[in-house]
Subunit: 182 residues, 2 copies
């Protein structure tokens, strides 16, 4: 999966592993994150597979940078993957739900503390998403024309993020109320 994210971004422009990490962190990380170690090793692999090429650029004073460029084979691999249709729903792994599922024997006050903290964190996430959404509208004018179409899709994923956080917060608030009177 991370392979296709890297190909997806390299399809816009050549980048280093470091750049890719930054880019991912402020975009797809909201629904698919990766550590820098995984990014660097996956780029190496992709280089060997011929999906990308790389050139080392000596940095003056700073460390050298290795710039990765997508190859025709890489573009092909990306397109092939995108042209498939996902026929299953993406499985969820939510640690908090596991914890709550088995929380009957816990001290309710501790559970409440945990849920209230999560609520706070999710409110922050929602606020962050809303800021990004606003920025998107504000910077609409000075946008690069070639990415206009892409932006619509980025926006859609952002909207899912906001809906998700809204639902999560509403559920947490509801759950907190229910546990309080339990």
């Amino acid at each position: 999966m991370i392979k296709f994210i890297l190909l997806g971004f390299l399809n816009y422009q050549p980048m280093t592993g470091y750049d890719l990490k930054q880019t991912i962190d402020e975009s797809t990380a909201h629904f698919w994150h990766a550590h820098h170690s995984q990014i660097y090793t996956t780029l190496r692999q992709m280089d060997q597979e011929g999906l990308v090429t790389s050139v080392q650029v000596p940095g003056e004073g700073l460390p050298d940078r290795r710039i990765y460029t997508i190859t025709p084979a890489g573009k092909q691999a990306l397109q092939t993957w995108l042209n498939q249709t996902q026929t299953e729903v993406s499985p969820i792994k939510e640690e908090l739900l596991v914890r709550l599922f088995f929380s009957a024997q816990r001290d309710p006050q501790q559970v409440l503390t945990e849920l209230r903290l999560q609520c706070e964190l999710h409110r922050e996430k929602l606020a962050a998403y809303r800021r990004i959404a606003e920025e998107m509208v504000n910077h609409h004018a000075q946008a690069i024309p070639s990415l206009q179409r892409d932006k619509h899709f980025w926006r859609l994923t952002l909207e899912m993020g906001m809906r998700y956080e809204e639902a999560y917060i509403a559920w947490l608030e509801d759950s907190i109320r229910k546990i309080e009177v339990l």
Copy 2:
């Protein structure tokens, strides 16, 4: 993580790997699934760590069954884990959002087909959750008293499942409409 799910269920009653797989599939799999291979190997590990004990029961005609029982050390490990407070939001990994993020260069009709299929699948999931919720209400009377408290928490996770599916469906419907007029 799967370790704690196994401990959580074994804390209710001794079970075999097979039973655990069934139990997980119809409960926590909605937010944390595992293949049988992982369950069996993790149980073996836990046995070595002293978190569970096991006895092999010869099956007449059928294959032998290995019944796992939680130990005091296992109960302790479960409690210790539960008594922690999760201070981060659980990270999300949603393949569909990754695909959509990079879908600008795809044929819009293909994207729509994919989203409509996902919509159908999520509607089925929601319907399934609602059936489970109804069952929970109907079988409320004949419930085991010792699990009354647990049921409240199971119910909460189910409610998150329903909210999640509702949000997902609403978002998909909205996205489909937006892509149609793009």
